[in-house]
């Protein structure tokens, strides 16, 4: 289901126009961001990092990992798939792998995720996505170097 939505919601001109209008208005932006927060918190345990990886992590939020690993899982996963920090929880990356593999998307887990931009916490990742600000979040090719992402940390 989520993978279908992914195709429908690709940043087309219409979404870019709409998201620009929403960003231009304070109340609309607040309302839109609040809707995203409500929806994604319920569905995915979203933490509102503002730079969403869900489409390539089997729709499991990596920010739910106690170490917030964007390139997980760590080496401490229990034999039963439990989190080393909170053993009563399942490792989010074990879930991510299972769900992505179940959808034929295990290859997504090979992507390299860039560091989180901590200025974006609390922002709407949907607006960031439609505005094209999320294009460099992950890559399959690490060769250009991490310090050469256009606009990174500036």
């Amino acid at each position: 289901m989520a993978y279908h939505l992914q195709r429908v919601l690709r940043p087309a001109a219409g979404y870019r126009w709409l998201s620009a209008r929403i960003e231009a208005s304070g109340p609309a932006r607040t309302l839109f961001t609040g809707t995203e927060r409500q929806t994604k918190t319920v569905l995915f345990g979203c933490r509102m990092c503002g730079q969403c990886t869900l489409p390539v992590t089997g729709y499991v939020c990596p920010m739910g990992c106690p170490k917030e690993l964007r390139n997980g899982p760590c080496g401490g996963v229990g034999a039963d798939g439990s989190c080393e920090v909170y053993p009563e929880q399942r490792c989010v990356w074990v879930d991510a792998y299972d769900r992505a593999a179940g959808a034929g998307r295990a290859g997504d887990l090979r992507l390299l995720h860039r560091p989180v931009d901590h200025r974006r916490w609390g922002q709407s990742s949907w607006l960031n996505y439609w505005q094209g600000r999320d294009e460099e979040l992950w890559t399959g090719d690490a060769s250009p170097g991490l310090g050469q992402r256009p606009g990174a940390n500036t």
């Binding site: 106690p66 170097g145 050469q148």
Partner: protein, 306 residues
């Protein structure tokens, strides 16, 4: 011969591990390094292992160098953000520390300051990627240029046994893509499981781009083994190992542990693509000669270059 040269030469590499003390002296590190100098290519200096405060890894690495052994400075993402980590690499490189082992690090919850803020600003893949970029492209994460760029040989860790097991070789692949030139694995007790992981590693061609060092530990007692199984994240100990240790009289447990480690060294050395072993003996450095002597009794691989 440096660790980098050893791995490039294709001869069997051996590394070990030293835990810095809880105190403001490098005396114990110097003694441990001196006892290991003739046996290993390089020695890891841990970075506040298990989230317990110890003497800094860079300082321990300098003490190891002064004792005539090559250090592998461990660097975790637990306590420092991207600014401090990049700065640490510049400092280490300027002081002559070449080998840097990057890991995410244990959560503070497991250590002596469980209330500490976990940093994890970068993860291990991102840190490798950042350090490699500093070295090769001469730029920081910010894009600012470095002059001069650091020189370093980058290492990573991997646990071949933790779920999702079928993804573990791929995860090493991510680290190699990011910049890892060698990897040290979690304790290998289950050799067949390790061999299965190595098959995947070879299928991905990772052993040709990254020196694979199998982690081998010598246990001193059944209690130490239980601790490892129950308290160290990500370590699995097969029941066979317990049975074998329990079958020996208690005063022979340490000797049996050394014998077992030597056998595992021999077994992993036969697996294609394994470049060497990493002896996880922190605090038990005196076990190293015994392990290597036992393992090398029928072979001369330890003799070359020494």
């Amino acid at each position: 011969m440096s660790l980098r040269e050893r791995l490039a030469s294709g001869s069997f590499a051996v590394t070990a591990e030293i835990s810095p003390p809880r105190g403001a002296s490098t005396e114990k590190i110097t003694a441990a390094a001196a006892s290991l100098r003739d046996w290993v290519d390089a020695v890891n200096v841990t970075d506040n292992q298990g989230s317990n405060v110890r003497l800094a890894s860079w300082a321990g690495s300098l003490a190891v160098m002064a004792a005539g052994l090559e250090p592998v400075m461990q660097m975790t993402c637990r306590d420092r953000n991207r600014i401090a980590l990049q700065s640490d690499l510049l400092g280490a490189s300027a002081l002559g520390i070449r080998n840097i082992l990057v890991m995410t690090g244990d959560h503070p919850k497991f250590g002596d300051h469980p209330g500490a803020r976990p940093v994890f600003d970068l993860d291990s893949v991102q840190l490798l990627w950042a350090l490699r970029t500093m070295r090769d492209q001469h730029v920081l994460l910010s894009g600012r240029r470095l002059d001069p760029a650091p020189d370093c040989f980058l290492g990573a860790v991997e646990n071949p046994f933790a779920p999702p097991v079928e993804f573990r070789a791929e995860r090493l692949g991510k680290k190699v893509a990011a910049g890892a030139q060698f990897v040290q694995t979690q304790f290998v007790f289950d050799v067949p499981a390790f061999a299965r992981w190595m098959t995947q590693v070879r299928d991905l061609g990772l052993h040709e781009r990254c020196g694979i060092l199998a982690g081998v530990g010598a246990v001193r007692s059944v209690r130490a083994l239980e601790y490892m199984r129950d308290k160290v994240p990500g370590v699995e100990v097969p029941d066979d190992v317990f049975r074998r240790l329990r079958a020996a009289p208690p005063d022979k447990h340490a000797a049996e542990g050394v014998k077992l480690a030597a056998e595992i060294v021999q077994q992993v050395a036969e697996i294609p693509g394994v470049a060497g072993v990493h002896l996880l003996v922190a605090g038990n450095e005196q076990a190293v000669p015994g392990i290597l002597e036992n393992a090398g009794s029928r072979e001369t691989r330890w003799a070359d270059g020494r």
